[in-house]
């Protein structure tokens, strides 16, 4: 049975902007001003997190995964958590369906910090992605 430190994960939407642009997942982290470009496998993991899949489901969704895939996926997820791109989440009320399988490829991202000063966005308007007046709920709410 695979073991991952965080059984459920989510994207801290209030701290990020993320979009797939021309097939490339790009994530901007507001607090650090860093931005990230994910490879196809990393983007698949990101999409699965958005869909509520567990790390175990993600591992099963990689077809042809080698024995080290569990460790590599775990390291990748932990990197995302450590970087503030993902956070631990409570168990959902309804389990997510299994993701559509994709071929195994080492999930990776490239991190960039060359535009930190330009990208450090206004910390005042702590609103949800829907915009004002949907004020961001307190952490943990």
């Amino acid at each position: 049975m695979p073991h991952f430190p965080h059984p459920f994960l989510r994207i801290p939407e209030s701290k990020l902007a993320h979009e797939v642009i021309d097939g490339e997942l790009i994530v901007i982290h507001f607090e650090s001003g860093n931005y990230y470009s994910f490879n196809a496998s990393g983007a698949a993991v990101w999409g699965w997190v958005m869909a509520g899949a567990t790390p175990e489901q993600m591992l099963r969704a990689f077809s042809g995964a080698p024995p080290e895939a569990e460790e590599e996926l775990g390291k990748f997820l932990q990197l995302l958590v450590d970087g503030g791109l993902l956070e631990a989440a409570p168990a959902p009320a309804v389990a997510a369906p299994d993701p559509t399988p994709v071929p195994w490829l080492l999930p990776r991202y490239e991190k960039y910090n060359d535009m930190q000063q330009l990208l450090l966005a206004d910390p005042i308007h702590e609103v949800e992605a829907r915009g004002w007046p949907h004020i961001q709920p307190p952490a943990g709410a």
Partner: protein, 358 residues
């Protein structure tokens, strides 16, 4: 919240949160200016699909700012989406008290955090001598100029940008640092670092028959089919690019920082060629090349993001997290290209027209 009288001060009452109290005091300054001098100009503007009621009290800024906004003026008798009240503190004798260093603590992108929250924002453009306040709930904006005398040309050419942007963000629209040209059925955003050729390409395209929205600031929406809007009806050219343009352009010289520039009103020089709104069909990143012919090459998502988002955050005060999300949303829905610029401006304009026609 109905604005209270001028006697509501000082702003730091212990009963009111600071942002609300400061906004109320600023309303008092406006009320005093209006009572003493009356409304000198009242008009309505169509700004990226929203209606702004614009009022000026007393003498001052209206003569300078109206020409830049004239193409947005509209006949409107119903309720406006926003009210923007503008006055000159010195000219009316009713200024908003100038922020102290303590009040400016933690200032970020010209926004005073001590006086801003999810509902209110205060922008202090110290370099300009302007204070802007916004109440997103009441949809009210106050713009007070704090210095005597004429406004600098860079404000005349792009007034209220932080305030317009903060209001537009509530409707999922963002002022972006990009030129925009096209045809009535579609536009192309021209993005990139300052001095990458955006203004020159936009005005060259205008001369070669395309419609024009902006040479540096326009509005972009976050929709499934993103749109762009013209915001300021002025084009600006650098001194060293004048040789590429006809001498018949009705130019006005001004200095921006240390750089000498020239501006002209687009509607006056090219009647009917200022394009109010159109679907955005593509983004291009221009680059001067040594090739004879211009050519388009696909740009990656990362390149498109780097060409548009950081510069817009930098150039548009109040382009906060909402603005970044709006731009990213739009970028995910339009193709991006590098445009290697050759010697033939007409051919480059033709490439842009092809993209705009989709």
């Amino acid at each position: 919240m109905k604005p209270a009288s001028r006697s509501a001060g000082p702003f730091s009452t212990i009963l009111d949160p600071l942002p609300a109290a400061y906004f109320r005091e600023a309303c008092g300054s406006w009320d005093a200016a209006e009572a003493a001098h009356g409304i000198s100009v009242e008009t309505h503007l169509a700004v990226a699909g929203l209606v702004f009621r614009l009022r000026f009290a007393g003498p001052g800024a209206s003569e300078q700012l109206r020409p830049t906004l004239a193409h947005l003026e509209m006949d409107h008798r119903g309720a406006a989406d926003w009210t923007l009240d503008c006055w000159s503190g010195p000219a009316t004798g009713c200024p908003i008290p100038r922020p102290t260093p303590l009040m400016r603590s933690g200032i970020h992108q010209e926004c005073l955090p001590l006086f801003s929250d999810g509902r209110f924002s205060v922008f202090h453009q110290q370099w300009l001598g302007a204070l802007g306040l916004i109440d997103r709930q009441e949809r009210r904006i106050l713009a007070c100029y704090l210095e005597d005398g004429p406004l600098p040309m860079y404000e005349e050419a792009a007034p209220f940008r932080a305030l317009f942007n903060a209001a537009l963000n509530t409707a999922d629209r963002q002022i972006v640092h990009a030129a925009s040209v096209g045809v009535p059925g579609g536009t192309v955003l021209i993005a990139g670092a300052p001095r990458s050729g955006k203004s020159t390409l936009a005005v060259q395209s205008l001369i070669h028959g395309l419609h024009y929205q902006s040479d540096d600031l326009c509005v972009l929406s976050a929709e499934e089919a993103p749109r762009t809007w013209s915001l300021y009806g002025v084009a600006k050219l650098r001194d060293d690019s004048l040789g590429f343009f006809p001498s018949s352009l009705p130019l006005r010289a001004f200095t921006e920082g240390t750089e000498r520039k020239h501006s002209f009103q687009v509607d006056g020089a090219f009647p009917g060629h200022l394009l109010p709104e159109a679907p955005c069909k593509a983004l291009v990143i221009p680059r001067i090349s040594r090739q004879e012919a211009s050519r388009l090459r696909p740009a990656s998502g990362l390149e498109a993001m780097k060409a548009l988002v950081p510069w817009s955050v930098s150039e548009v005060p109040a382009a906060g997290q909402s603005g970044v999300r709006i731009m990213m949303h739009a970028l995910a829905r339009i193709p991006a290209y590098h445009l290697d610029l050759g010697h033939d401006a007409a051919q480059a304009a033709g490439l842009l027209e092809g993209l705009a026609r989709g």
